[in-house]
Symmetry: C2
Subunit: 340 residues, 2 copies
DNA sequence: TTGTAAGCGTTATCAA
DNA sequence: TTGATAACGCTTACAA
């Protein structure tokens, strides 16, 4: 077993001091060419690499970014990680991923754990429990300590930090408007309870589109699911009883399932019922018929969040620049579940 | 901005030595009750938390696990991460996720980066490029340094380490047998090129099932895709020309798409054509008709890998126990794309 | 019962 | 041009 080699080993072997080795490997002007060459050759031969931990302790920079997300199974979060990874890696950062599992406690624990020196900054999306409790002390603790934080997608007004969101209201607005313009008058909306920021916004957009076009929306056609978790029974019951000619859903799983129930009850898609879902993931693409979707651009969101965070981390100036909220534009991807 | 408090601060404030503080916070018997209480109260008040980096440097233990996977968009890898996270967190470890993007170079870079002290061990699945090149020096370097490594799913014989795989051959074998037993005689197999370990194994299982039942398999009904990436054109062309009464695919994306093409050409599923896919993900569950799938138990795989790794990491005994390869059993989940 | 000092692997300042 | 030393924050053997 080849043990990892350190500056000390090289120094002893070549009978120079540790600091000479350190400088030589940094190609410092202070060291003579001969010595540098000798040391560099030796280091290369033994494949020397500085120990990240020691460097971190010294510099108080870990080059790690902590990402905390509610779950990893929803395609959207996956794409965000992918974007964060990409941007972070290109700037020499690693990504530590923690899952809160939609639990407040796990979110707090993970945050505390990482905040004790493991990372230079956080990128996170709030767990549903956190949004429900409206308890953001753990976030404030972290920002108080001067650790940069970027919230994305599920954010809160109560914490001062950089944010990246998509214009959820606009996404819902445009989807709704499209359907209304095509003559749909009985649109069903399957959304989530208002404590989830995305639920509120999307519902707002839905209502606003109706108002703007002077068409009444049907209160009883709005279903607010308790969480983003699939509960087939609730959706099935709702759609069985409701009178609708279109469905808009807060995520693609609900949408695909809604489509299924509609078909089961003899409705044709998109002729009888048009369906649009949030999140443009694999499900939407490969559903049958393929699903018209509101793309949330998760990868871009991740990249943007990472870029903002790294800028904050690497900002040397003492006068802090003000926090920003970047709002990305959703895109309607038209497929076969709506009339084009 | 509240700066992070250290032992030094507490020591100075309470006019004791740093080691007294350290011991008091560890509830050491050496320290008097009075002193301990005073110190603990102060630490609590100021919310003292030891700096992970300093502890890591001292103990040569980071409590971080590095996970390197080819991509994060395939549902299977996502579930593996989820399993690793779960097991790791429960044992006090964080998970650092790196994506190789199926690239050999990125795999090497990520590994080197993490190997320099950032993690206590690796869990990884080989990138396709690595399996193609058959160059595993980066893995050997790491194991030579005594860093534990657990390979999962895409593994290689060439590296001595713990491994977790599912019995891919068996999965394909059983799926094939089921179809043959139902009278299907013209099964099409959409797999991947042999350089990917999973491709080889699944093809073997397909062929073995035919042999065991004494039924000839159709060489021309086997399509080997260049990678796991979707290339609609290739699959569409293949299925358009082929004469088949069932399809088995190496992943659910291929399967769902295969189903689509079959339907487009007027075939009924499952009456005319039965379809089975590897990976039991969201796509399979919500496809229409829902897809019979060979579950790879990604979450269990992740948990198992993490458990094996942590055992290795925490093993104190000098006589190393031999490397293990755990083989998980796939499960056939029957849905509507096959006759039950 | 408390404190001193060495050490983990680096970097950086200052002295030789 | 090189080296000794202190420092990052913590742990621990040993001394007081």
């Amino acid at each position: 077993m080849k043990r990892k080699i350190t500056l000390k080993h090289i120094a002893k072997e070549l009978e120079v001091s540790i600091s000479t080795v350190s400088k030589a490997l940094k190609n410092s002007e202070e060291i003579s060419r001969d010595t540098k060459e000798k040391i560099q050759a030796f280091a290369k031969l033994y494949n020397y690499r500085p120990n990240n931990i020691a460097v971190s302790l010294k510099n108080k920079r870990t080059k790690n970014i902590g990402v905390i997300i509610p779950d990893i199974v929803h395609h959207f979060f996956t794409t965000v990680i992918s974007g964060v990874e990409k941007e972070a890696n290109s700037k020499g950062y690693n990504v530590i991923v923690c899952l809160s599992d939609e639990s407040f406690d796990k979110e707090v624990i993970n945050m505390e754990m990482l905040a004790n020196g493991s990372i230079d900054g956080f990128i996170m999306s709030l767990s549903s429990e956190t949004q429900q409790k409206k308890d953001y002390n753990h976030l404030k603790e972290v920002t108080d300590q001067g650790i940069p934080l970027v919230l994305f997608d599920r954010v809160t007004q109560s914490v001062d930090c950089d944010k990246v969101i998509i214009d959820d209201q606009l996404g819902a607005y445009e989807a709704t408007k499209k359907l209304l313009n095509q003559g749909k008058r009985k649109i069903a909306l399957i959304t989530v309870d208002d404590y989830l920021s995305v639920g509120t916004e999307r519902t707002k957009g839905f209502i606003r589109a109706h108002k703007d076009l002077g068409i009444p929306y049907l209160e009883k056609n709005i279903l607010k699911m308790p969480t983003m978790e699939m509960e087939e029974g609730i959706i099935r019951e709702f759609l069985t009883k409701a009178d609708y000619d279109a469905i808009i859903c807060v995520n693609e799983i609900f949408a695909v399932f809604g489509m299924k129930v509609a078909k089961e009850t003899g409705k044709k898609i998109p002729q009888d019922v048009s369906v649009i879902g949030f999140t443009d993931g694999l499900l939407s693409k490969y559903a049958n018929p393929s699903l018209t979707a509101i793309a949330q651009h998760g990868e871009l969101m991740g990249e943007t969040a990472a870029r903002m965070l790294i800028k904050r981390i690497e900002d040397e100036s003492d006068d802090e620049f003000p926090f920003q909220t970047k709002i990305l534009q959703p895109t309607l991807i038209e497929r076969d579940s709506t009339i084009n």
